[in-house]
Amino acid sequence: MHLHLSEEDAAFQQQMRDFFTTQVPADLRARWAAGGEPSADDMREAQRLLNAAGLAVPHWPVEWGGKDWTQLQRHIYLQEMQAASVPPPLAFNANMVGPVIATFGSQEQKERFLPPTANLNIWWCQGFSEPGAGSDLAGLQIRAVLDGDEWVVNGQKTWTTLGQHADWIFALVRTEPDAPKKQQGISFLLIDMTTPGITVRPIQLIDGGHEVNEVFFDDVRVPADQLVGERGQGWTIAKFLLGNERVGVAPVGTIKRALASAKQHAAQIASGDGTLLQEPLVAARFAELETQLAALELTVLRVAANSHGDKPEPASSILKLRGSQLQQDVFEFTADIAGPASLEWHQPDDTDLAAWTALATRTYLNFRKASIYGGSNEVQRSIIASGILGLKG
């Protein structure tokens, strides 16, 4: 066991820190740090800067722009990126469809899609969930019927995050309705969002934002060469995609930044003759959250250190679960710190309130999603119970 980074990793850390803090414009990072609805333009600019430096898709095959990094280096890269408030490469591109095409796609698909995916020239969105199939993906209904060399797609997807910005969607569709098991009838299709018959309807969330959408498919014709892998292989691909990213799934750097900001804010809010940070119950809660965050980060590092190739450290299963809980706790506490100021969601022009207070409740409410999306916490617990503890319940 070693407390310190190796010389090589320390140098790597410095290199990442330098890049993120000097090569990504400060105003862009400040906008990202402020929170609220993300700017698509900022996300594009950031990903292209990273891609130009070879830092957008480090976990892809080297041939397609990846780096042969250790798990620890990947952690450091993410950590420094989050600490510097650099928008991360779009997850749908970098972590989802990219690795899928690199692993299951034809050579032609790789050449056609991977470079623009890495550079965010194609903005991808995810077409997995349906109104009747959330955590239970095998129950999906959307159908694709082969007609000549085109698939004709009919049905609906939902919870399509940032679909309003998307150029393409990768979707699970039912191509073999007669397959003996529901899972066997599903295929993985790439679909241009400008194809006639596609309608996107934004869904408003309780914080007022519009980050998710319904996507309707009405006789949408998709060229057959946009099916990835084999017909009926969609379930395998989906499992690959969902299980792909185990390390780095806890947004430690983001939580850390949020908690540090909250502490800074609490030190600036007057309370009696002192500050809110000096109130014993507030201070103790900060100490507790910092302690719990340290425990989470140490677990991430332990997982990174002990994961080799395809054999992740079992503890990796707790990262999504605990990461979402802690992130929610920090945003809940931030809203408490904002206090009465949190009641105002749109401050008047001549306000005396700090700008962050207007976002505090909305961010808290928005991040209730963190324990629902991407495999709910109930699903995470089931994975731990059955996969690690051997409790098939």
Binding site: G139, Q204, I206, A270, G339
Partner: protein, 362 residues
Amino acid sequence: MDFTIDDDQKALQDAVHELAARHAPAEAHGDVPVGPAAHDPKTWAAIAEMGLLALPFGEDVGGAGASTVEVALAATELGKARVVTAYADALTAAGLIAHGGTAAQRDDLLPGLLDGSVLIVPGLAEPGRSWSLEAYDVTASGAAGEVTLSGAKEPVPYADAADKLVVTARAGDRTGLYLVDAADVTSTHVRFDGTPAVALGSLDDAPRALRAGLNLGILAVTAEALGAMDAALPMTVEYLKTRKQFGVPLAAFQTLTQRAADMYVSLELARSTVLYAGMALAADPDDATAASRAKVVTGQSGRHIGQEAIQLHGGIGMTAEYAVGHYTARLTAIEHTFGDTRWHLARLAATLDDHQQVDVLA
């Protein structure tokens, strides 16, 4: 002690239930208002016309001569239906005036406030400061009859719709209550810059008036919170019964039904505490312990139920088209209104020496 609702109270509940149903936010496909509710004159007029503002006040000042119990019952119905208004704010202002104002001020201000013709709301929060009943950065100066205020109050909910404000300001080393005109106020940001004001009653009476006014506001918001929880739980239960996942209703997943049971526990504890606060404040408007306890219990229950209601719904619970997230948002706002759970725990902690043990049965 007796929690039974009598026939008059039942009739009031029913009437407010119907009023609330008429003025509840419409279900809509597409965007709906989120966040703090704007003042809606129609809803406000209906509330005033039914006499809901007048409930806890004596007939001598235009009140209905009912009690804070009725306030709790009415606010619960409003909360269930998601009718968010200045009800708690106006009641707080009325409480400040009733307990802090001179006889002339009571006679002058309360009838209009209670019949809905004049909207008065409290301005207590100061920007850049945590919640407090003390004023720090807004100061009052000048002799009686020539008082002026300086500094800022923010946010002051419904200040833009109000005719007058009753605000706290520092007078020397004490905190007093002051009436100011709100005709020119156009937002929740209220800046005073040598602004003329009238002292509400005396500095000596201000602390008790503040406690009593706050108690009334707390009762209204905690009862509203009770209503929100009382609606969010059945919605969640219904969803578990009807929504299928993996081919079976969610209610087949024991981990979810056991959590629904815990939500029920939280709800019923909140119900007892809020109704008790209604009874306790009817007997003693100054009973800050009953009010703080109601705020703590609804704060903890509200967070629990609000968060679990969304979690057990899954994605649909996050959407503005569906009511459950709005309840959670409102419960969150109430938590940050009139002092949060931490503030009220600290206030209760300061009184631990006053009693050997908890006693509610007197």
